[in-house]
């Protein structure tokens, strides 16, 4: 994903990057973003670092940070999505009400999207640092990790939600399972549960495809942000050239 041209290395030997070369390994998103900001600042000052300076270990660690974030934030979204769809379909109460207004339905959907989108937006903050070899490699690896984690989450959610619909909540399976609770729970209550779960289970099928949209937005947010930023800085440079 080479979105912009590398900065040419400066000839005055003023390279000041001190933490590259595999020494620094980002442990979390914050350290990864700080490292990218550091690389970008140094590359703006001293020009692009030579190819190969950003080691394989560096690349893998940036990828791992993005991957973990994409997977975890996606799983939070995957947990909240059936609840949001349940609210929209009037199965689950929101703000203590069983009759959600349009605002409530939109809010439930927004809450289910927020964690993934917030994570993607946080990663997008590095869009202005897409300047030199090291910072570009780091951002590319971070975003590829995010995309891979998000796709793995999508597969897990798709399989899990279909499993819930076709196996766990299938009437022939959920009935005997609920009956095991009989001494503890009264029969009319169990019957109500059986009916509710039977109607609710299609929410999992809808959710599994809503998750596709969430995943697309999670991956698209940083990619589009970086592309727009690169295009903007290219235009600015062209304008500066024009004006001499």
């Amino acid at each position: 994903m080479a979105l912009g041209k590398d900065l040419p290395p400066k000839q005055d030997g003023g390279l000041v990057i001190g933490t590259l070369g595999g020494a620094e390994k980002p442990t979390g998103l914050l350290t990864a973003i700080s490292a990218i900001e550091n690389y970008a600042m140094n590359e703006r000052e001293s020009g692009s670092v030579p190819h190969g300076f950003f080691t394989t270990q560096n690349r893998v660690s940036f990828f791992a940070v993005g991957f973990t974030g994409g997977l975890v934030s996606g799983l939070v979204a995957a947990l909240l999505t059936p609840i949001a769809i349940g609210v929209i379909e009037n199965y689950i109460p929101i703000f203590g009400s069983h009759e959600p207004s349009l605002y409530d339905q939109c809010f439930a959907f927004a809450v289910s999207l927020s964690f993934s989108l917030g994570y993607a937006a946080f990663i997008s903050r590095v869009r202005g640092d897409y300047v030199g070899t090291a910072s570009k490699s780091a951002i590319n690896d971070l975003v590829s990790g995010l995309a891979t984690g998000a796709v793995l989450k999508l597969i897990i959610a798709l399989v899990g939600f279909h499993f819930m619909y076709f196996v766990v909540l299938a009437p022939q399976n959920i009935g005997p399972l609920l009956l095991k609770l009989h001494p503890l729970v009264k029969l009319p209550t169990l019957e109500w549960w059986f009916q509710w779960l039977g109607e609710f289970r299609h929410v999992f099928l809808i959710s599994s495809y809503v998750i596709v949209l969430t995943t697309f937005l999670t991956v698209a947010t940083p990619v589009v942000a970086i592309m727009l930023s690169v295009r903007g800085s290219r235009r600015r440079k062209m304008q500066e050239k024009k004006w001499g």
Partner: protein
């Protein structure tokens, strides 16, 4: 083990029913529930927390606070229904 505390009646000081009647106590909690977890104020607080989660988490680069506010949002949004279900279950 805590007999010396219970013997002195120290723990009794923490019992709210020593200061207010049970009816009043239940009324306070139902008012708190009505204010925070349902109705207009619940919706407003949840919306502010969600906006705050983005503001602090993304814009101000404070992800810890952002995640905390997000979980408060989720709690306010769904806890009211959960409490209702629990009350229905126990009745």
């Amino acid at each position: 083990m805590l007999s010396f505390i219970s013997g002195t009646g120290l723990l009794d000081n923490f019992n709210p029913l020593n200061y207010v009647s049970q009816g009043e106590y239940v009324y306070w909690w139902s008012e708190a529930y009505r204010l925070v977890l349902s109705g207009f104020w619940g919706r407003l607080i949840a919306a502010l927390c969600l906006v705050g989660a983005f503001w602090f988490g993304v814009y101000r680069k404070m992800p810890g606070l952002g995640i905390f506010l997000f979980f408060i949002t989720v709690t306010i949004t769904y806890l009211g229904g959960l409490i209702k279900a629990a009350l229905w279950w126990t009745n």
